[in-house]
């Protein structure tokens, strides 16, 4: 601390207290302002979404402008399909890389991968979209659900990697040592003891990662592309909720813009439901892990 605390006549205790009170209230105000956008956006979403939401919204295909009704059924299905493909790519790789980082903590490769995973997760998602376009869409000559899923999967890999690493490191070492002392092979220790103990945490992290990419739009623009029709084929363009919201919101038609709010509300509910589910699993994990620690390891 190079600055001295103020003393002397000019900085009376009263003045200092007043200053502290002013700064404290400024901090309170800043926090309140931070919460304001959340309140505003939520309010607009609920108001705008309530107008168009109904059973038909979930079962109908998009309607042309001027035609009443219309829904986002294909968008919801398409988003789920894309998430399944993304998880099929992101989970095994992310999980494996996370285990690698947790088990070979200090190797040079681990250090590099840890840093590069951060770099990968910081890349603009639209660049990933363009990358996948060049890699899959251009050679195959068409936009496809597969390309969209790959783009989202690439985005998921670093998220799951870092989360898995963090979760596996929470597993008490004594558990590992006990298993190894009993003659378990290294792979069996990792898979049946370490991974099993860390599993709820990893499920949480994976659900959060899926929730994160569920709302991604930019990487889907040139990969999944979107379609107003019903399609779940891997090798054809597929609709996605975020793409539909984008198209509706930027269209000049009032009824389409109204639909955008409905789509946004559905998307937000999907994202928050996944996050909520994720947190539920973690709460259970804490209980279980703490009972394991209390019962065996004695930190």
């Amino acid at each position: 601390m190079d600055r001295q605390l103020p003393v002397g006549e000019r900085a009376t205790l009263l003045a200092r207290r007043r200053r502290s009170a002013i700064m404290t209230s400024l901090v309170w105000c800043a926090s309140a302002v931070c919460l304001l956008p959340l309140v505003l956006i939520t309010a607009h979403l609920l108001i705008g979404g309530a107008r168009v939401l109904g059973p038909r919204f979930f079962t109908a295909l998009p309607a042309p402008p001027g035609v009443a009704g219309g829904g986002v059924a294909n968008g919801i299905a398409g988003t789920l399909l894309l998430l399944v493909i993304a998880a099929a790519i992101g989970l095994p790789i992310g999980l494996g890389a996370g285990l690698y980082l947790a088990e070979r903590t200090r190797t040079r490769l681990a250090e590099a991968v840890r840093f590069l995973a951060d770099v990968l997760s910081g890349l603009p998602s639209i660049v990933i979209g363009i990358f996948v376009w060049e890699l899959i869409v251009r050679p195959s000559g068409q936009f496809s659900a597969l390309a969209g899923g790959v783009a989202l999967g690439v985005l998921m890999i670093p998220l799951i990697t870092r989360a898995t690493e963090a979760m596996v490191q929470l597993v008490p070492n004594a558990l590992r040592e006990a298993a190894l002392a009993l003659g378990y092979s290294r792979a069996r220790t990792s898979l049946t003891i370490v991974l099993r103990t860390a599993l709820p945490g990893i499920v949480t992290a994976s659900l959060l990662a899926i929730a994160r990419v569920a709302g991604e739009t930019a990487p889907l623009l040139f990969t999944a592309f979107g379609t107003p029709y019903w399609s779940l084929r891997l090798d054809a363009p597929v609709a996605a909720l975020p793409l539909q919201i984008f198209n509706y919101a930027t269209s000049p038609y009032d009824d389409w813009r109204a639909q955008a709010w409905g789509g946004a509300l559905v998307l937000i509910v999907l994202v928050f439901a996944l996050s909520w589910l994720a947190r539920r699993v973690t709460d259970r994990r804490r209980e279980r892990l703490s009972s394991v620690v209390a019962g065996g390891a004695g930190e």
């Binding site: 605390l5 919460l35 890349l123």
Partner: protein, 327 residues
Amino acid sequence: MAAPPLPSFATDQSPPRFRSRRGGVGSVGDRLYGGWITASALVIPALLLLVAIVIAGSSWPALQTLGTRLLTDTVWDVPHARFGLLPALLGTLASSLLALTLATPLAFGAAIFVSELAPPRLRRPVALLIDGLAAIPSVVYGLWGLVVLVPWLRRDVIPFVRETLALGDVPLFAGPAYGPSLLAAALVLAIMILPFITAVAREVLQAVPRSQREAALALGATRWEMIRDAVLPNARTGLVGAMILGLGRALGETMAVTMVIGNAHVLPTSLFQPAYTIASLLANQFAEASGPLHVSALMAAAGVLLAVTIVVNGFARWLVRRTEQQR
């Protein structure tokens, strides 16, 4: 009081390192398992390398044809094969830096609130709510910006600044007032990076040892003096890191910006004028790119964006890691 530091879990928890005996029991499983995790770990560097190669390779034709004009030309005219990235690059920097300027004081305020000042009962809810902002998809921010924020700017804010404050002649506020503008993009971006800066700043502040705070209080410091003299100086590097991480986010943000910035190829000189960013240029033109040179020029744009974000993010991570290691 010199309380002994808590044992570092990082050192206690690192798993036992040993090598399985070759040919020993379970070695097949061990090898399969080791192969899987090593291969997965290698995917990450491979992916990054592939991204770099693909983007660099595809932008090569544009670099060859246009050379440095790509970065210095201010005209983007597809039919006449003029692809100047300067307006979009400057628009990207201007919108992101403006957003950072708007978001930083608020984010630091919220972080100080949660880690230092809030009544214990408020801490978790406030932190959770601000984190909730990060869970809202970009396209929803864009929708909100387009339908709520932009009309508000056009109806109320722009006339107020121009007429009531009589600042219409200042170049910063000049230009036609459509609503979609650099300012709209910066505002939406500021809201979007707020939770990221707050989260990192919160962690950095909480990493400052308790003893520092107690020492300041014991010397008779007020609450604020404790924060200013004991907490913030210790957290300075990490706080800068938090800001730059926020900047990195803002630079690559696509959808929300595309929807509210107005997408005009002009140098960003006025807050109220439409502008362009590299990310929104890509979002708007890539799917309808006409001709190989256009595609290649857009690839070069993606390359520029990639380079800028990697440098910014790398610098930020380095700063944050450095403070966390100081502990």
